[in-house]
Symmetry: C2
Subunit: 241 residues, 2 copies
């Protein structure tokens, strides 16, 4: 039995009851060490298998092997397990096994939703998620999605916006979207959603400071109707109030 | 004080701890009657203000007036309050008030995430949300977004896909996306996510049966890499397994 659990952005308050119950029911907890550190209160007395970044395949293969021994395994993702998390990889690996291994995906609050609640209501209308990581996706595909999303006037949520190895991706993304996004478009930035060091900034498309952004930051770019009121970013649904 | 709460798709298990705590802390619960029926265990001993569909503005104005009397009000949305929910409207109304009314947005699991967990892992890669309701959005804007989202090869999650008054919207949307979505593209359909009557279907773009879909259904259309394995819909992130 494998639970693939989205633990939400970080705090216990943003976890679902199902995520907590699944962690409590598991014999073994498997996860990226940074995420394991967010759930220390749930790992007491349990076997813990943790490893580093970019070791997702090893981690998931490990989980499948442990599940074959009859133990209940919880694989942890931050946010939602089905959004740039471990759900797909676990299901792909299990589909190649001859044995029947039960998998239960336990949904969670993804980073865009957590960040939106802190910013105000920026994703009240049609929006999209685009990851700027080209580790697994060709950069041309990412560029195409950025351009078409901006043309469609989606609110755009950027995942993996900027890392040490890819410090220029975010500026490039803004340049591409700038063809359709006006300079006055509100942009919301939340670092470390729901964690101790949480920080929030609101600015405009033209005044964006890329240096403020790292891998644990969510960047949300508004649509043509999005406005800033005091320190809040609001995308109206369209009600006349 | 107003809590704007996303209660998740319907079951208590998919609620966050913060949503439960906020409901328990509130003096008054305000919501659409269908959603109030999902949280009966939390309304005992509390004042409840409920009304029908399309009365969102009245409902939120009511909540603001009650908050002015000093009571703690919880405004309930299904899914996440910041995604086609009540968060934006409450913030817009409060921004027009002279009094300082504190608003806390409490995030939740939105329908696409809940449906995805039931289908497998369909939104593992870049995706978008498009509402097919033209009550508040011109149909041309919706058409444009559908076309560009399909061209960008996003996984597409359709909210408000079909109602009695708009029975043709979904078929029209598929016709538009058909310019770019191949007939063999997997489509996942989940009715009443997390509720008693929950139902799940997986089919292809060409074999889609629009009659199966109503207002409480989530429709998820895959990207070029999405595949069906047994009854699961999986969009690979791109790992070589």
């Amino acid at each position: 039995m494998i639970y693939v659990i989205g633990i939400g952005p970080g705090s216990k308050e943003m976890m679902t009851l199902e995520a907590i119950n699944a962690m409590e029911d598991a014999d073994v907890i498997v996860g990226y060490k940074t995420y394991i550190n967010l759930i220390t209160e749930f790992i007491e007395g349990k076997e813990v298998v943790q490893n580093g970044m970019r070791q997702e395949i090893d981690r998931c293969k490990n989980a499948v092997e442990i599940a074959k021994t009859g133990k209940k395994v919880a694989v942890i993702s931050s946010g939602d397990a089905g959004i740039y998390g471990m759900a797909g990889l676990i299901l792909e690996l299990v589909s190649k096994e001859k044995e029947d291994i039960k998998v239960k995906i336990v949904p969670g609050v993804t980073a865009s939703i957590g960040a939106a609640a802190i910013l105000g209501a920026p994703i009240m209308h049609d929006f999209c998620h685009i990851s700027l990581s080209d580790l697994l996706t060709p950069w041309e595909v990412i560029e195409k999605r950025l351009r078409l999303a901006a043309e469609a006037d989606f609110v755009v949520c950027l995942y993996n916006p900027r890392s040490k190895g890819r410090s220029e991706h975010l500026a490039k993304a803004f340049k591409i979207m700038g063809e359709f996004k006006d300079g006055s478009t509100p942009v919301g930035i939340v670092k470390d959603v729901g964690r101790e060091k949480q920080e929030k900034f609101v600015c405009t498309f033209d005044s964006m400071d890329f240096e403020r952004v790292d891998m644990t930051t969510m960047v949300i770019i508004g649509n043509k109707s999005t406005f800033i009121h005091e320190d809040q970013m609001i995308t109206p649904r369209g009600y006349t109030v």
